[in-house]
Symmetry: C2
Subunit: 335 residues, 2 copies
């Protein structure tokens, strides 16, 4: 666990991003400024339902008053802690692509959690779900955690319109119009890359790549272009990585072949995603990335190569802005 | 090990299909009729180079004369025993899509194996490799074992023209023109399906399917059509299986959801392959399947649904016909 050394923290409220693997918390003052932050590797996947309160107290306990006063401290949680296998299930809010502002309704749909510690008033943000539309325009989909980041983007850019991509194991692409979400699609590319690079026959041919190297970057972009030009050939191009390795092994001076092949694999898998996710985007249109720097950089290189105008925000900034927006939209705690 | 009970076997030659996991052998008379057969789970992946001869003798030893006579028994081997990690490497024969008959040249390119047992005269059939063509028409690719089955098809149908599919972990699609191979492509679909169904987040949503069930067959064909119509959405449709499961879990009377979702996954992954493999085939054109019955049936259902004329041959028939063609094309053993 990492905890800030500020020993005089007395937050107005606490923001928590509780994912599958990690718990991250921020103490905020009355102006939503961060006065302390802490994190621990106590994610949803490692906790039974009755262990969540203890894990939370380990991380934020020092920020709470010694005893419950008139008013417990608000703790607003987003992420997988609200999954069925999490602390308390926060039912999905169904995306309404029509009249209403789904993101704006998150604050009215929080799921309260009854805690043993009376100093806490915990509420969990719902995820979003999308049902298939009869015309095939939308497919079944779910998100949990990303809705808060999208809320944060809208909090910063009230009338934002455009495509937003949140890279990850299951990358989310959302479409926003004038600050409202109109649809989203999840791509399993991150997991697909992990499976192929770690568990498939290709693992024998790969070494960790570095896109700062020109030849590896070229191999990566070659993969992007190949998959976008002919997505139907993906599983053939995947085997082609193995075949190249077998056939090129005897070439002299072929250092860093494994790195280039890993870069190509990464490009092929992301290229398939981009073929699907950008099919309806106009050339040169803006794409906003929200995520961790290293992964966003990989997306940025590909998207800029394909001519899109790329913006970028850090995960934590959007989570804080989103939880702030939701926090202020909820009715104040009654004593 | 399974060995036939014929105790008076004295073969003219022995045919061996030696794959990654299994070794299968046939004793043949002077007219290439099978007089005995045997197999053992002694595949290339489980053997060190110096263990191959012993494994072979365990399976075919009873078919050899007690002592070496003037003439050792010909043993013709195809498959992964000829890989770099196998018994002795049988270098790939490069596909020449131009003037020459590459399949017809296999018999002149056998790799002899020096054995301790003088009763054996072992030769290994080369695999085929294909180098990328400057115009992008062909890609790097390799096969090892399938070249023998394709030879068998040509032995049975001298002037065969059309598409041939050999389903498997790494499915091979070959194009033949008047009995000559002009190109081939390997699709990793089988391995992709295994990774997704066993190791990905989707494993929680799946139960083994049965395409004899009408609803599961419909889900399978829905996956085929979806992937063929929009291959660029594959990794989104994959996550859609998870989302459907999460969102449908509360529906009443939804028995066999896991079976239908597994059928859909199978359809999506095979549909991606068919989108790539059949892109240049005319509607209604013939596709010949060579492989195991259950897997061929899965392909046949999809291909007939898409309007192709499907033929089918059993693995063993094509291996025997292919090894027979190659055996008779090789010069006789010199005493």
């Amino acid at each position: 666990m990492s905890v800030s050394t500020n020993t005089t923290v007395s937050p107005a409220w606490i923001a928590v991003d509780w994912g599958s693997s990690n718990l991250r918390a921020w103490a905020l003052d009355g102006d939503d400024r961060v006065i302390a932050e802490a994190s621990a590797p106590r994610g949803m996947l490692g906790l039974a339902a009755d262990e969540f309160e203890g894990a939370l107290l380990e991380v934020v306990g020092d920020w709470l008053p010694p005893a419950a006063g008139n008013r417990p401290t608000e703790v607003l949680v987003c992420g997988m802690a609200g999954a069925r296998q999490g602390w308390v299930e926060a039912a999905y809010l169904a995306l309404d692509a029509g009249a209403t502002d789904t993101l704006g309704r998150l604050g009215g749909q929080l799921t309260p959690v009854i805690t043993r510690d009376a100093r806490l008033r915990v509420r969990i943000v719902p995820g979003l779900c999308q049902h298939a539309s009869p015309d095939g325009g939308e497919a079944f989909d779910v998100m949990r955690g990303e809705e808060t980041q999208l809320s944060g983007l809208v909090a910063r850019h009230l009338d934002f319109s455009g495509a937003v991509c949140l890279p990850g194991t299951h990358a989310k692409w959302a479409r926003l119009e004038a600050g409202r979400i109109t649809g989203f699609t999840t791509f399993m590319s991150g997991e697909l890359y992990q499976l192929l690079s770690r568990d498939s026959v290709l693992k024998h041919s790969l070494h960790a790549d570095d896109l700062a190297d020109a030849a590896q970057r070229a191999a990566y972009l070659g993969g992007i272009d190949t998959a976008m030009a002919a997505p139907e050939r993906l599983s053939a191009e995947l085997f082609g990585i193995r075949a190249r390795d077998l056939l090129d092994a005897s070439l002299p001076g072929d250092a860093r072949r494994g790195e280039r092949l890993a870069a190509r694999l990464s490009g092929l898998v992301l290229g398939l995603e981009l073929a699907g996710a950008t099919a309806t985007l106009a050339p040169g249109s803006p794409v906003v990335l929200i995520g961790a720097e290293a992964l966003c950089r990989r997306y940025r290189i590909a998207l800029e190569h394909r001519g899109f105008a790329v913006g970028q925000h850090a995960n934590a900034d959007m989570i804080l802005a989103g939880l702030g927006r939701i926090h202020h939209a909820t009715p104040p705690a009654t004593p």
